[in-house]
């Protein structure tokens, strides 16, 4: 018989939710399909339809809610725009204000976005010069 000396203040519960949340962001569904993608603190769900059909994101939503209820910790590592959408009553993206270039998981799209911004700024400079 093992005798543990200590006082349980919910450590195992927190350890479980913490370990599982880390696994959500770092491991792959069936060893092949990442559930989230992007940088730390800017994770977004994978756009793979297989995960959607298998009900993975439904399970993730329930898990995050229970993590918050039981430990007070959830949603960290997710992109701020995803957090805002999850906690917003509306199902529209119109009120989402926090999307930034860091939320783009694809390097190709980031490069394209930066090119657009760069060109826009160059044009703005030319435009103001001509106006003056």
């Amino acid at each position: 018989m093992l005798l543990f000396v200590g006082h349980d203040v919910g450590a195992l519960t927190r350890e479980y939710f913490d370990a599982t949340q880390r696994a959500l962001f770092e491991s792959r569904y069936m060893g092949r399909y990442p559930i989230f993608e992007g940088d730390n603190d800017h994770k977004v769900p994978s756009s793979d339809l297989l995960l959607l059909r298998k009900g993975v994101f439904q399970a993730v939503g329930k898990f995050l809610a229970h993590s918050y209820i039981n430990t007070g910790i959830a949603l960290y590592n997710l992109s701020p725009c995803i957090k805002e959408y999850l906690c917003n009553e509306s199902d529209s993206f119109d009120n989402i204000t926090e999307i930034t270039v860091e939320d783009l998981p694809s390097l190709e799209m980031r490069s394209l976005y930066e090119k657009v911004v760069c060109i826009s700024r160059c044009m703005f400079r030319d435009f103001t010069t001509e106006t003056i």
Binding site: G10, E15, D18
Partner: protein, 159 residues
């Protein structure tokens, strides 16, 4: 600007815009004050739109639990401490718990912990090792009153 009405998204539109954006000449004929802004918004919002079904699935399950009652009204979305806090506590039978702040500690958390150390004196001092200035690592005794600590965090709206 209501970009979603002015510039409705679908995959063909996006691919077309992508090609156009890659071609600098595309911008020569644009009205500067409008269309380039649409394109910027377009690229940023595209990341959400291609994941709408996934997000809605997650959101529906998230809301069905009733968790929003606890979250709404708190400033967690804008609190610097919240998204960077990760917590790992080993078995309660093991002497040390382990709390790690990935980023900078919120000033209020620092002051709460410092106050706790000062009040408890040497009783806890040997068990509580705290390095607030360098690695942001806090090692905490199993006997550290986590429930009290989280109540304080909640009170300060850090969660």
């Amino acid at each position: 600007m209501n970009w979603s009405q002015e510039f409705p998204l679908d995959r063909d539109d996006f691919l077309k815009a992508q090609d156009e954006a890659a071609n600098i000449g595309f911008f020569a004929d644009l009205d500067f004050t409008t269309k380039h802004l649409y394109l910027e918004c377009y690229l940023l919002h595209y990341v959400m739109h291609v994941r709408k079904s996934q997000l809605d699935s997650m959101k529906t399950a998230f809301r069905e639990t009733g968790v929003l009652k606890f979250i709404q009204g708190k400033e967690y979305l804008h609190d610097a401490a919240f998204p960077k806090l990760s917590l790992m506590i080993y078995s309660p039978a093991i002497i040390l718990g382990h709390m790690e702040y990935v980023g900078d500690l919120d000033g209020r958390v620092k002051s709460i912990l410092q106050e706790y150390i000062e009040n408890m004196g040497n009783t806890v001092g040997n068990l509580l090792q705290i390095d607030l200035n360098q690695k942001n690592l806090i090692h905490i005794s199993t006997y550290f009153p986590f429930e009290w600590f989280f109540q304080i965090l909640t009170q300060y709206r850090i969660f």
